[in-house]
Amino acid sequence: MLNSSLLRSRWFSFGLLALGLALLPFLIDAGLGRSWVRLLDLALLYVVLALGLNIVVGYAGLLDLGYVAFYALGAYVYAWLASPHFGLHLPFWAILPLGAALAGLFGVLLGAPTLRLRGDYLAIVTLGFGEIIRIFMNNLNAPFNLTNGPQGINLIDPVQFGGASLSQPLSVFGYTFSGAHLTYYFFLVLVMAVIFISMRLENSRIGRAWVAIREDEIAAAATGINTRNLKLLAFAMGATFGGLAGGLFASFQGFISPESFNLMESIMILCMIVLGGMGHIPGVIFGALLLTLLPEALRYTGDWQRSLFGQIYIDPADLRMLLFGIALVAVMLYRPAGLIPSARRRQEFADAKA
């Protein structure tokens, strides 16, 4: 009896959550405007990215500062195969897995020579890798035009289901869904899948092995964990999610250039997971949403200034990054283990302090 009522209440809250998520874009559209729905789409994309990096940094404890390279790879693969650049227009369900797989392969390629490196040395090598990829994308418009250089690739096809395109409004039963709304649902499904994979990984033999490597690599090896293969697997899985997000980004924006894939982007994704709570899925999701939406929300500082002082003293576009930096420092000072840390992290933190 108790069991079934528990089940019912769990299904009830689950249904409530699903309903809330389904209605969210409409509420935001009505309350804040269409541009915020697009921003919400972007935030979902960053959730995929952050969860991917979380596997590398949060679970396995490998500090990767070149994560954006895999994001870029996925995006460029999508752009090459679905834009007028090479005249190819393959469907998304063929390209997205291809981009993700290629990114995963590069993850192994990067991971293999760096296995001996620890901590900050690994960070600097991955950072160098990210920069190398970005510089190549910036310059590979000669001798043959692969990336179109700093101008980037334009007119990338949106994701299409049958006749419906995610960039066009779609009428269903007399109600019209905008492209931003459709993208939201598509991204939401993918985010759910990524969350599911992350959760299953976390509680698996592999996930526990990663935690063991993170906490003490030598002890992990001594207990029979194949640290080499598992570290490579972490790199590959993280990179795969990065490649997937890259493909989605290219289809969503319709335009990519090397400018979108600089080091600051890698650092931002790292900030998302550290700020939210490393290795903890709800924390990482919260961090990704917060860091995507906060800088935009800070654009409203112009209105605050006007209502407080009667005029705008500092251009809000200039002020918002300053406030963002202050927020980063303040959150870390008051919650060094992240906003929503996992129980295990909190324990590690308490151990370190003692």
Partner: protein
């Protein structure tokens, strides 16, 4: 003109600036095991503050000799950067000294975003030119040219590095710094005021960064609120290349990175048959960095750490 000698001179000048900034990274890392991400921004602040002073002085008193104006700029920039470095350590790093490793890294990133944007709000987004106050003399050596500015940078950098080695090896403070780097707990048991030593490390590193910032802006003739990012990145790479935590390593790494970049820019086109142009010089630098670390994970001069459980 002899290209090899010219690239050697350019590389040494660039490398000595990298080395000065790298020393700041490596000293902090040696003691705290912290990547002081904001260090590049302190370099930028040094350049900006000194340029503001130099620009104002050059306008107000055009008769003053260039060297005096430059010294005045340095005299303001160095204390400002020292104060900044101390403040950052106090506010952003000290409370997190026992926190998980990545927490201070994030505050460091936050601090560098803050410094960049403060600089942007004060000095704007445009490039600020370095006023033509310095002697523009050029000298020919065996077919290559070296400018007065380059000579000044080289000499000053060497003198500063020698002074730093003396401080670290011969003074009481230096001994305290080395002891703290070995073990903070034991050092404090031996009566070392660890907080004071760490603050001094930041102050010394920031002073070096301020000087390096002035050098960079004098060398390239301009400064920009975003200049600290790439400079800091390269200097940190240099510190890692040499073996982070090792003073000699930072100097060697800085010089090597400068040389690699300048030779890379000069020869990469010939080496690849014109396939890769000189805009791949950064790829070249990072590639060498990765290759060195893959074969010598502890850096060139870093001590091999014995792995223990």
């Amino acid at each position: 003109m002899d290209i090899f000698l010219q690239q050697l001179i350019n590389g040494l000048v660039l490398g000595s600036v990298y080395a000065l900034v790298a020393l700041g990274y490596t000293m902090v890392y040696g003691i705290l095991e912290l990547i002081n991400f904001a260090h590049g921004e302190i370099t930028m602040m040094g350049a900006m503050v000194s340029l503001a002073v130099i620009g104002a002085l050059a306008l107000a008193a055009p008769g003053l000799p260039g060297g005096v104006i430059l010294l005045a700029g340095l005299a303001v920039a160095i204390p400002v950067c020292m104060a900044l470095g101390m403040l950052i350590e106090r506010v952003a790093y000290r409370p997190l000294r026992n926190a998980p490793r990545l927490a201070p890294l994030i505050t460091a990133i936050g601090v560098s975003i803050i410094l960049q944007n403060i600089a942007m709000l004060i000095w704007g987004k445009q490039y600020i030119p370095f006023p033509p106050i310095l002697p523009q003399g050029r000298h020919d050596i065996l077919g290559a040219t070296i400018s007065d500015t380059q000579i000044a940078i080289l000499v000053l950098a060497v003198l500063i590095m020698l002074a730093l080695i003396l401080v670290v090896q011969k003074t009481r403070l230096g001994r305290a710094m080395r002891a703290t780097a070995q073990s903070r707990q034991v050092a404090s048991l031996m009566g070392v005021d660890v907080n004071r030593v760490i603050a001094s490390t930041f102050i010394i590193g920031s002073a070096l960064a301020a000087i390096a910032g002035v050098m960079v802006s004098a060398y390239y003739g301009l400064a920009h609120y975003y200049m600290g990012f790439l400079l800091g990145l390269k200097a940190f790479s240099a510190a890692v290349l040499g073996g982070i935590g090792n003073l000699g390593g930072a100097m060697l790494g800085g010089l090597l990175l400068g040389l690699i970049e300048s030779f890379g820019a000069g020869y990469i086109g010939d080496l690849t048959g014109g396939f890769l142009g000189s805009h791949y010089q950064d790829v070249f630098a990072f590639f060498v960095l990765i290759a060195v670390l893959v074969f010598r994970p502890q850096g060139l001069l870093g001590a091999r750490v014995v792995e223990r459980a």
